[in-house]
């Protein structure tokens, strides 16, 4: 079972978000920060567009031969002394993870940031089975304290402000002096570091995600900015890597090409602060590292996307650029989308993973402005894929009845030009006459959605085609 979704209530979620002044203020930071940074990083690199093409090609090639690369990767991991587990769905993945933790006699588990772990709801599952998971990425740590889902795939707590974090820390870190000063962000950071340092040392198992898995070497790669991932995977005796199957790339060379577009697209950094490669458990000559190395490869709906129009979505490298540039995300934030993945990539991926009957709003809640596609490092045609979902909905009669009947009526006229000209001529003459005094309508029947927020400009009255016919009769065929 995947984690619970409120995607069916997208509209209500969105309205609530629009009326949350604190959230709106936080979203303003997304609008301003990420966009300029990405642009300046991209502008500084003359080959950036070519790198996007290369990234697109590498991922496509891998997806075409995914079975082969998965097998090759598995062999290499085994050869390096690690274990590979295949999980068809969230349930299987959770079982596998729990049994590894049980074998390690784990009481606490530290976790690096991992979206697939959110998808399978591993934290709640471990807790229910008496094992304490501790998120070590600062943003993830904060939202874990609040029992929330991330609102952004690379900045999970971007919806919060420092005061909210201070309140959470005071509520949870009760062993510390209640009168301590936490008014500066750096004090919050220092406190989190101190608390987490003990957790790192005490953990029995460390769980990380993976940005890339390299078939050639059996290596998993994570990129982080806080170094928490390294402590998570090096200190405990057991390291579990969770990754969905599309994280595979053929070679280290391919991985480094993708790394060149990843951080630039995400945060505008040339590289993230830490880029960590792990290949199997600690070898005898290694100074540190886990004694046990497990990789859980999770399908959870991906293989069903192969060979369909949604295969292109599997190129996604989770940089977050699409949501950073999305006017809808800017307006409502990530939680409104109601599941793990927000923004344009979520609007395409979520219906694939939890069903378009539940997530149908997501691909519809887009203006198709195309800004997401214009910044996607692997050139995923996100608006096109959202449109494909709308087509699936239309075929399955999931499109709302009001939209269907409106479209049907409009289509009926649009297919009959003579009738169309007659009807529109009459309608526009009427509307134009009614609106002649003010030039606009504050209210119109059947247009409540429009007139709730803006006036409806009145038509000029005579249609173009009517006037053209009148003025140019005889001049055109």
């Amino acid at each position: 079972m995947n984690v619970h979704s409120t995607s069916p209530q997208f509209k209500q979620n969105a309205t609530r978000a629009l009326h949350d002044p604190q959230l709106q203020k936080a979203l303003n930071n997304v609008k301003q920060g990420f966009i300029d940074k990405r642009k300046s990083a991209a502008d500084k690199l003359p080959e950036f567009e070519a790198l996007r093409d290369a990234a697109h090609d590498i991922k496509n090639h891998t997806l075409e031969h995914l079975d082969l690369y998965l097998e090759a990767y598995e062999e290499k991991v085994k050869a390096s002394g690690g274990h590979v587990h295949f999980a068809r769905n969230a349930d299987e993945a959770r079982e596998i993870i729990l049994s590894i933790c049980r074998k390690a006699d784990a009481k606490t588990v530290t976790k690096g940031k991992s979206m697939i772990s959110e998808e399978i709801g591993i934290n709640h599952y471990l807790e229910a089975n008496g094992i304490r998971p501790i998120e070590t990425d600062l943003g993830e740590y904060i939202i874990q304290l609040r029992n929330e889902l991330p609102s952004h795939i690379i900045a999970p707590a971007v919806h919060l402000n420092a005061t909210q974090v201070e309140q959470d820390f005071r509520r949870v870190h009760t062993h510390l002096d209640a009168k301590r000063d936490l008014s500066e962000p750096v004090q919050l950071l220092t406190e989190a570091r101190a608390v987490l340092r003990e957790r790192f040392l005490a953990a029995d198992v460390g769980i990380t995600g993976a940005n890339f898995l390299v078939a050639e070497t059996g290596t998993s790669i994570i990129v982080t900015n806080e170094g928490n991932g390294d402590l998570t995977q090096i200190l405990p005796k057991t390291h579990i890597v969770l990754a969905s199957i599309e994280k595979l790339v053929p070679t280290l060379e391919d991985a480094s090409q993708l790394l060149r577009v990843l951080a630039r697209s995400a945060t505008g950094q040339e590289m993230s602060v830490y880029t960590t490669f792990s290949t199997g458990p600690r070898r005898s000559a290694d100074a540190d590292g886990p004694a046990n190395y497990h990789v859980v490869l999770i399908d959870n709906g991906r293989s069903a996307m192969l060979g369909t129009s949604f295969e292109e979505m599997l190129r996604c490298i989770r940089c977050g650029a699409c949501m950073n540039h999305c006017p809808v995300y800017h307006a409502v934030g990530g939680h409104a989308y109601g599941w793990v993945y927000p923004g344009p990539m979520g609007a395409v991926l979520t219906p694939s993973l939890i069903g378009v009957d539940k997530a149908g709003h997501l691909p519809n809640a887009s203006t198709f402005c195309g800004r997401c596609e214009s910044v996607c490092p692997v050139r995923i045609p996100l608006p096109k894929l959202m449109r494909h979902w709308r087509e699936r909905e239309f075929e399955r009669h999931l499109t709302p009845a009001s939209v269907r009947s409106g479209l049907g009526l409009w289509g009926f006229f649009a297919k009959r030009p003579a009738l169309y000209r007659f009807a529109t001529r009459a309608a526009m003459a009427t509307l134009g006459f009614m609106g002649r005094q003010r030039g606009r309508f504050r209210w119109l029947p059947l247009a409540k959605g429009w007139t709730a927020y803006r006036d409806f400009p009145a038509p000029q009255g005579e249609t173009f085609q009517a006037r053209w016919q009148r003025e140019r009769k005889g001049r055109t065929a």
């Binding site: 006017p327 887009s366 198709f368 195309g370 709308r390 030039g439």
Partner: protein, 272 residues
């Protein structure tokens, strides 16, 4: 009168053949604001083209974006047949031109016969300002407009067709006109066709941000190349009581500003 680059289209000054343009007036312009269509005709004729407006309805984009491929194909086939005889097809809209240029070929991916025809139509279809500048090589227009304007880049024109410099180039040749750039001119206004009605709360928030950027530019006139976006922004500005005149870029370029701005009444315009 717009001037062609010297020698580019000799036929204009001498004998025919003149380019025969099919004006795809677009359904919104046809119904709501025909003066934009006549401004487009003037610009094209000034540039030496012969313009016809065959009987037409809609390119099918509302159906396409609602997931109704069947209706879209029917309407697309009608459009393809209507416009097949013209040298070029020009629309005063980046969104509608983009539908033909970018999406018609995709619509007939699995139908080779129609695909060929869709490709042919796509190849000769242009957004108005891009046709004037990129195809005809027009560098200036003979128009006067006193005052500052700010220009909103509509999404489809900008990102599907690369319309960005063309309208600005032509506007900068209008006597008395200055362009003041607003912040985020290339960010969506929140229209999105049926999106504006289906997700009106979100659309309202997006156009609110847009209206603030328009207001902050201090320009008394807002221009864009797509009537859908213009109606959305004009409706928001008038609802907020902001006295900003909103027009399609073609109206200014053609010097046809007798009609009141979008959302203004004739009486109000005369009183000004």
């Amino acid at each position: 009168m717009a001037k062609l680059e010297e020698g580019k289209f000799e036929a204009v000054n001498g004998s025919p053949p003149r380019l025969r343009i099919g004006l795809f007036v677009t359904c919104l312009v046809d119904l709501m604001r025909p003066s934009i269509g006549f401004a487009a005709v003037k610009l094209l004729e000034d540039a030496g083209c012969m313009v016809e407006a065959p009987v037409q309805t809609c390119c099918g984009q509302p159906a396409y974006n609602s997931g109704d491929r069947g209706t879209t194909r029917d309407l697309a086939q009608r459009m393809i047949e209507t416009f097949q005889g013209y040298d070029y097809v020009v629309a005063p809209s980046g969104s509608c031109a983009g539908m033909i240029k970018k999406h018609y070929p995709e619509l007939f991916e699995e139908d080779p016969n129609w695909r060929v025809k869709a490709d042919a139509l796509a190849a000769k279809t242009y957004e108005l300002t891009s046709f004037l500048v990129d195809v005809l090589g027009v560098t200036q227009v003979d128009a006067t407009f006193d005052g500052a304007v700010t220009y909103h880049d509509s999404c489809s024109g900008l990102r599907e067709l690369g319309v960005k410099t063309q309208p600005r180039k032509l506007l900068s040749s209008v006597k008395g006109l200055t362009i003041v750039e607003m912040n985020d001119s290339d960010v969506c206004c929140g229209f999105g066709g049926t999106f504006a009605v289906k997700y009106s709360d979100i659309s309202g928030a997006i156009v609110d941000a847009k209206a603030k950027n328009i207001g902050a530019s201090q320009a008394p006139t807002l221009l864009a190349g797509d009537l859908g976006c213009l109606m959305n922004m004009a409706g928001k500005l008038s609802r907020d009581g902001k006295p900003i005149e909103v027009r399609h870029v073609a109206e200014i370029l053609a010097g046809m500003t007798d009609e009141p701005g979008i959302g203004l009444a004739k009486e109000a315009a005369r009183a000004k």
